[in-house]
């Protein structure tokens, strides 16, 4: 079976010279749920953006469905790898929620009627149906987070990539988001500092420390090893 996503020794330096990723290698299989952990500045967001071609590795390669990400394949790759950004405000920019959700399908060439139908269905599934004609900046933080998720789910990606999805959510909204994610069948890659959020949701963990992959294994094993967690800077 080909891996859904394969990172082959991905190395990345920001244009200003900051090294962010250093020969990171791993694969994610279809339907797998993976937590991406690591202290702040470890390179998590950078890695996520390289998975759907927003950033191109300085060295190494990313393969999606066995196909290398390049200018020709990037459109298809973005349809398979759905990225939910850390800040929902960056993702929602149209006058109404429905239009924001329909943006992806319309870009992919769906008809207006089809885009509207699919968008309504996703909003319904996330409990946002009543808010479909409201502007994103009139939603609460938790609703906004779900809305950002909706804009990605509507394109039916194979891998759902989330950057800090539980940040600034209250306990109830966090619980709700987690329940929704637990029911999805797409593969999941969740970058987070919130260990409770991924406990039980993800089965595997990748740990980045200073741009290097420091650990790749079962999440339970990692969470049970206090000494290792401290060494990776995951607990105080």
């Amino acid at each position: 079976m080909t891996a859904l996503v394969q990172a082959r020794d991905v190395t990345y330096h920001y244009p200003d010279g900051t090294p962010a990723l250093d020969t990171v290698a791993f694969t994610v299989a279809a339907g797998e749920r993976v937590a991406l952990l690591g202290p702040t500045g470890a390179g998590k967001s950078t890695l996520l953006q390289s998975l759907n071609g927003l950033l191109r590795p300085s060295a190494g390669a990313v393969l999606v469905g066995g196909v290398a990400v390049n200018d020709e394949t990037v459109t298809a790759v973005r349809r398979r790898v759905g990225l939910v950004f850390q800040n929902p405000d960056d993702q929602l920019f149209l006058p109404s929620l429905l239009e924001d959700v329909a943006f992806g399908p319309l870009n992919a060439g769906a008809s207006r009627a089809e885009a509207a139908t699919r968008s309504h269905a996703v909003l319904e599934a996330l409990g946002l149906a009543a808010a479909h004609d409201r502007a994103a900046h009139h939603l609460s933080g938790g609703e906004r987070r779900l809305a950002a998720l909706a804009t990605v789910l509507v394109s039916q990606p194979d891998l759902l990539v989330l950057d800090e999805p539980s940040g600034d959510l209250d306990a109830r909204s966090r619980r709700r988001l987690r329940d929704i994610l637990a029911e999805r069948r797409e593969a999941l890659l969740v970058a987070t500092h919130d260990l409770e959020f991924v406990r039980g949701l993800c089965s595997r963990a990748l740990v980045l420390v200073a741009g290097k992959l420091a650990w790749d294994g079962a999440l339970d094993v990692l969470l049970a090893d206090r000494a290792m967690m401290e060494r990776f800077g995951l607990v105080a």
Binding site: N52, F85, D90, L94, A102, G104, L106, R112
Partner: protein, 254 residues
């Protein structure tokens, strides 16, 4: 009032919003051009065109107070630019301001420039108040404005929006931390806020652009709702345009 509520009358159903965006852009251009090209002294025609704009604002349920408030900024710029007219036009001196004389011809010309600017800006205020930005872009595209221009406008708008949004945030943060402070201190604060605002807006614009790319954006903003040209809308745009052109033409009659 927050910048992002600029188009808050776009959701108000009215004969104006029932005209597709392309028609609204067209009408705005006709009305603004007709006003801006009125010859000096055509006060009656200026008044008639002002009446047309004010009537359209009323039909669209945009309160006059709001329209005038939105006029203030651009009008202030015109005012600054045309103050020189008061003194550089040769003619009979009306009053002396220090070393320079204000001439009657200068005052007349100045009044006409300001009047024309005010009336020409009214339809533009109506347009941005009643048209959401994606609609506006769509309208521009239908009028064969090049995609590159429409997209550049879209991104510029986005940056402007983010700048104001960041500004509001930073102001709130600054206000909550510095309740008072002297003039110097406030001036320092304002400079710091201005610098931080621009920096942050750029970073956010870049992130938004990345988020758009991640969802397959390829340079054009797709619209969920196709504009619908009803018979009534066509008739309304045609009627207003003909009226405006007739008024403008009457100012040129010998």
């Amino acid at each position: 009032m927050s910048f992002r509520h600029l188009d808050r009358f776009a959701q108000v159903r009215s004969p104006v919003t029932r005209v597709p965006a392309a028609g609204r852009v067209f009408g705005t251009v006709v009305l603004a051009l007709a006003t801006a090209t009125l010859p000096a002294g055509a006060w009656v025609q200026l008044g008639l065109l002002a009446a047309v704009s004010l009537a359209l604002l009323a039909i669209a349920h945009v309160p006059l107070r709001v329209a005038l408030a939105r006029l203030a900024w651009p009008l202030g710029l015109v005012l600054l630019a045309s103050l020189a007219l008061l003194v550089v036009m040769p003619g009979e001196p009306l009053a002396r301001l220090g070393p320079v004389a204000v001439t009657a011809q200068g005052a007349d010309r100045f009044a006409m420039v300001m009047g024309r600017a005010m009336v020409a800006l009214l339809p533009a205020v109506l347009l941005v108040s009643t048209t959401s930005f994606p609609e506006l872009l769509q309208g521009l595209r239908e009028l064969r404005v090049p995609v590159a221009v429409a997209t550049a406008l879209g991104l510029a708008y986005r940056l402007l929006y983010l700048t104001v949004d960041e500004l509001e945030r930073l102001q709130r943060a600054a206000r909550s931390r510095h309740a008072g402070g002297g003039v110097t201190r406030r001036r320092h604060l304002i400079t710091a806020i201005a610098a931080a605002t621009l920096g942050r807006a750029f970073v956010r614009a870049e992130r938004t652009h990345a988020a758009m790319l991640a969802r397959g954006f390829r340079g054009t903003l797709p619209l969920l709702h196709a504009p619908v040209w009803t018979y009534r809308a066509v008739l309304n745009v045609a009627a207003v345009s003909i009226l405006v052109l007739a008024v403008a033409a009457s100012a040129r009659l010998p």
